[in-house]
């Protein structure tokens, strides 16, 4: 400690001691407690289908509940795959590929002791899809229905078998089911058939039970010792989840020992945290930070030379340095090591001279720049550091002759605009939108953005991109049930999309987290979701 520090400390000690306040730390209890600061401003919904995006699923979804199909989050090295959850196995009917049969796991009970079986599964599906059922919950339906676009009919085959019929053949259906979490029908009855009461006393089948919920302040989870997967019984006695939307507050809370783990630390504070002995974990995961172009009449992005020039104008290494190394330069929607990347002929790189040449070829030059308007946000889930990054890109593009004017919206306005599309008045005439996203499965990665049927208001094809070859390849991939063959089709699609410079590809996030050295056993999977069950706290 430096001398001024010492004097300051003594001075403050005298002042506060005079006020009769004790400086002694709150005595540590015998139980091990893991305290996590989340980025959300409230505790995500605890009734089964969480809100607050994927952070809600990460901390109050997959902790209290299970899905039929789960993500395998045990490896930090390989891309996360699917693994059986509340279903032990599933198969698609070869004669009618719309029909899926799921065999449910036996000997599983909800936290309240009631059994998990086909009746409980169907009851949960009615909760989401049948507006006339007593257990229907509009909030949960709103949170999950959009994530399972192929859901058609469902029925019980026997006590441990259920059957789904999708609206069309969809090889990606099991991925979508990872978002459907199952709550206890018996507990809902026990709390008076009231979802608000259920939120405070929820019951799922997950590795954790919710012991205490104080809205906007904290959720406390304790282990479910009877969890069906013995390898995932939690190793800490208690997990306390605290909402802290402000990055600097989270950083200060970690450095002062109030929490053990923070999500998304402020990048400029990372050297300080490292010097204080904190562990910074990161791992690339399925995330892309792009500009999605408008292909409406009058948009300069309709010219492939302009799209390619923009992709060649961005100095991604410089951007990476700006972010303290906490990004991976994007040269496609997926990363080059991914099976869907393919072999594109157009190499996305930093080459401003080639960018200027392409613009000149299309008649643009110093006296005639390209003028575009882009919707950006000030913050938001997965948006990384949107203002700094966009200003950097604006400078890069101006250097080659593309002038960007920003329409800055708050995240809560920009995000809903995604589905409304470029032609909607709320887009304010913009030619591109800057919304980052997760590509956990092919539907989320490509289909919802680039299939012509997904143009507003059906999906996230914001710019009304329409290419018959894209549609053909995506439809083919969706109906190819052999994974290897499906990967080949997706690789062909992705290569074509990169060759067309369909979007401006900028960055992939690496999901930085900062932790006290006491946190042990955390494996950061290449995924939006993480498993906190194996995490322990050293005394």
């Amino acid at each position: 400690m430096t001398r001024p520090d010492r004097y300051l400390r003594r001075f403050c000690a005298v002042i506060l001691a005079t006020a009769g306040l004790s400086f002694t730390a709150v005595p540590a209890s015998a139980e091990s407690v893991l305290r996590i600061a989340m980025t959300s401003s409230d505790i995500p919904l605890t009734t089964g289908q969480p809100d607050s995006g994927f952070e809600g699923y990460r901390f109050l979804g997959y902790t209290i509940y299970d899905a039929l199909v789960l993500w395998d989050l045990s490896s930090a090295d390989k891309a996360s795959g699917l693994t059986p959850g509340l279903a032990e196995s599933w198969e698609v009917d070869p004669s009618d590929p719309r029909v899926w049969t799921f065999s449910l796991r036996r000997n599983v009970t909800f936290h309240d002791g009631s059994p998990w079986d086909a009746d409980a599964a169907i009851w949960n599906l009615e909760k989401i899809y049948n507006e006339n059922s007593p257990q229907f919950d509009a909030r949960q339906a709103g949170n999950v229905r959009g994530r399972i676009p192929s859901m058609g009919e469902y029925d019980k085959v026997d006590d441990y078998t259920i059957r789904f019929t999708t609206t069309e053949p969809d090889a990606w259906f099991p991925y979508q089911l990872t978002f459907l979490l199952f709550s206890s029908p018996a507990q809902w009855e026990a709390v008076g058939r009231d979802w608000n009461a259920f939120a405070s006393n929820p019951s799922g089948t997950g590795p954790f039970k919710l012991e205490r919920l104080v809205p906007r302040e904290r959720a406390e989870l304790v282990p479910n010792p009877d969890y069906w997967d013995g390898n995932r019984v939690p190793k800490t006695d208690r997990v306390v989840l605290l909402p802290m939307p402000e990055a600097n507050t989270r950083t200060a809370a970690l450095l002062s020992g109030q929490v053990d783990w923070i999500e998304a630390p402020a990048p400029d504070a990372i050297p300080r945290m490292r010097s204080a002995g904190m562990t910074i974990t990161s791992n690339p995961y399925p995330h892309t930070w792009p500009y999605q172009f408008s292909m409406l009449e009058g948009s300069p992005w309709r010219d492939i030379n302009v799209r390619k020039a923009a992709n060649l104008a961005v100095d991604r290494d410089g951007l990476n340095a700006l972010l303290g190394g906490l990004m991976v330069p994007a040269v496609g929607i997926v990363t080059p090591d991914h099976p869907w990347f393919g072999n594109p002929g157009f190499e996305i790189r930093y080459d401003p001279d080639e960018a200027r040449r392409l613009l000149a070829e299309s008649g643009y030059g110093p006296g005639n720049p390209v003028n575009v308007k882009v919707l950006i946000s000030t913050s938001g889930s997965g948006q990384m550091q949107p203002l700094a990054m966009n200003e950097y890109i604006q400078q890069n593009l101006r250097d080659v002759g593309i002038n960007i004017e920003f329409e800055v919206l708050d995240w809560e306005s920009l995000f809903p605009n995604w589905r409304r599309g470029a032609a909607d008045p709320s887009s304010l005439g913009a030619h591109a939108t800057n919304i980052s996203f997760g590509w956990l499965d092919p539907f989320a990665a490509f289909y919802r953005f680039m299939h012509s049927s997904m143009a507003a208001p059906n999906g996230f094809n914001w710019g009304a991109l329409s290419d018959p070859e894209y549609d053909r390849l995506l439809d083919l991939a969706r109906s190819t049930f052999d994974t290897t063959e499906q990967d080949k089709v997706l690789a062909e699609f992705h290569a074509k999309m990169v060759d067309d410079a369909a979007w401006l590809m900028v960055a992939h996030d690496v999901g930085p987290r900062a932790m006290s050295p006491k946190v042990q056993g955390f494996v950061q999977a290449k995924n939006w979701f993480q498993d906190i069950a194996p995490v322990s706290i050293a005394p």
Binding site: N143, P215, L242
Partner: protein
């Protein structure tokens, strides 16, 4: 006095209605829709429509407002769109936390402001005056947000003496008047106190300066009254103004601590409003603003009555 009191109470009705209507209109004029809080962006149009119906947002705006007013007069502020919890419970829980913070800030800011203002006014033009006025101007000018972060960096991160965030080691529902919780109160209360302290200092300084120029002060001195007795007379004459400023500042402290509560994750009305604005949670926003507006009006009324009691020259008829 009774007529005045009744009149003021009656005035509260149109004011409250106007506040609610303005709040309701602003939410609908701003980009985004109330349903954005509930429905994820992935949700297809029919699901959005379904949820809009379930929450009654498909009705014409005047009908929505009318229904809300009808329920509000019966004490039912509805349910939060984002959380489904009753707005009354949300607001009351948060109000308790904000009252704790505002009281602590007032206990720091008001006495200091009165002391600094009186001294600066009494010794106008002196070095002490310049020093205290400098502190006051700094207090008014420094952004809350920045000061809060600096205090956290110094006292929490650097010196590890005080907690950086939260209302206590447990939840605010467990709040107790004991050291473990009071430690959490110090930094946000100090941060929040600097603006009222600065405003009080400047107002009282001006008031004391003005009173000192009055003939009666000259007369008191000419009669040979000791200077400390003269000082007491001056302070007494400045009291009604000080009280009015305190009332206003207390009102601002209750409603205007969004930034401080966010920086310190203090679960009060400021943070509640912040959440409600960003999540377009219309019932929560309207309910919180209504309760704060009523609180502010009631506080003003109390201050006005107290002023009359303190200073008989002020007639309220």
């Amino acid at each position: 006095m009774l007529t005045y009191f009744s009149k003021r109470l009656l005035f509260m009705v149109p004011i409250t209605l106007a506040v609610s209507l303005i709040c309701f209109s602003l939410v609908h004029l701003s980009p985004g829709q109330p349903m954005d809080a509930v429905v994820s962006a992935d949700a297809p149009a029919e699901v959005v429509e379904l949820v809009r119906r379930a929450y009654g947002f498909d009705r014409p705006l005047p009908v929505q407002f009318g229904l809300w007013v009808q329920r509000a007069v019966q004490g039912d502020l509805g349910l939060s769109v984002a959380t489904g919890r009753p707005v009354v419970l949300e607001v009351m829980g948060a109000l308790k936390n904000t009252l704790i913070l505002a009281t602590a800030a007032a206990l720091i800011g008001f006495p200091l402001g009165m002391l600094f203002g009186t001294l600066a006014g009494y010794f106008k033009g002196s070095l002490l005056d310049r020093l205290l006025t400098g502190i006051a101007v700094t207090g008014v000018s420094v952004p809350h947000y920045w000061l809060g972060m600096v205090l956290v960096i110094v006292f929490s991160v650097h010196l590890n003496m005080l907690p950086a965030t939260g209302a206590g080691p447990g939840a605010s529902t467990d709040w107790a008047f004991e050291a473990a919780y009071l430690r959490h109160l110090i930094l946000p209360a100090v941060t929040l106190s600097v603006i009222p302290m600065g405003i009080m200092t400047r107002t009282i300084r001006a008031m004391v300066g003005e009173i000192l120029a009055h003939d009666f002060v000259e007369a008191l001195r000419a009669k040979g009254l000791p200077e400390w007795r003269v000082f007491l007379h001056v302070v007494k004459n400045a009291a009604p103004t000080a009280l009015a400023v305190m009332g206003l500042q207390l009102g601002y402290l209750l409603g205007g601590s969004i930034l401080v509560e966010t920086v310190f994750s203090w679960p009060g009305t400021g943070m509640l409003l912040n959440n409600a604005i960003f999540r377009r949670d219309l019932p929560l926003l309207q309910g919180t603003i209504l309760v704060l507006a009523l609180f502010f009006l009631a506080l003003n009324l109390l201050v006005d009555l107290a002023q009359t009691w303190l200073d008989p020259r002020i007639k309220r008829a």
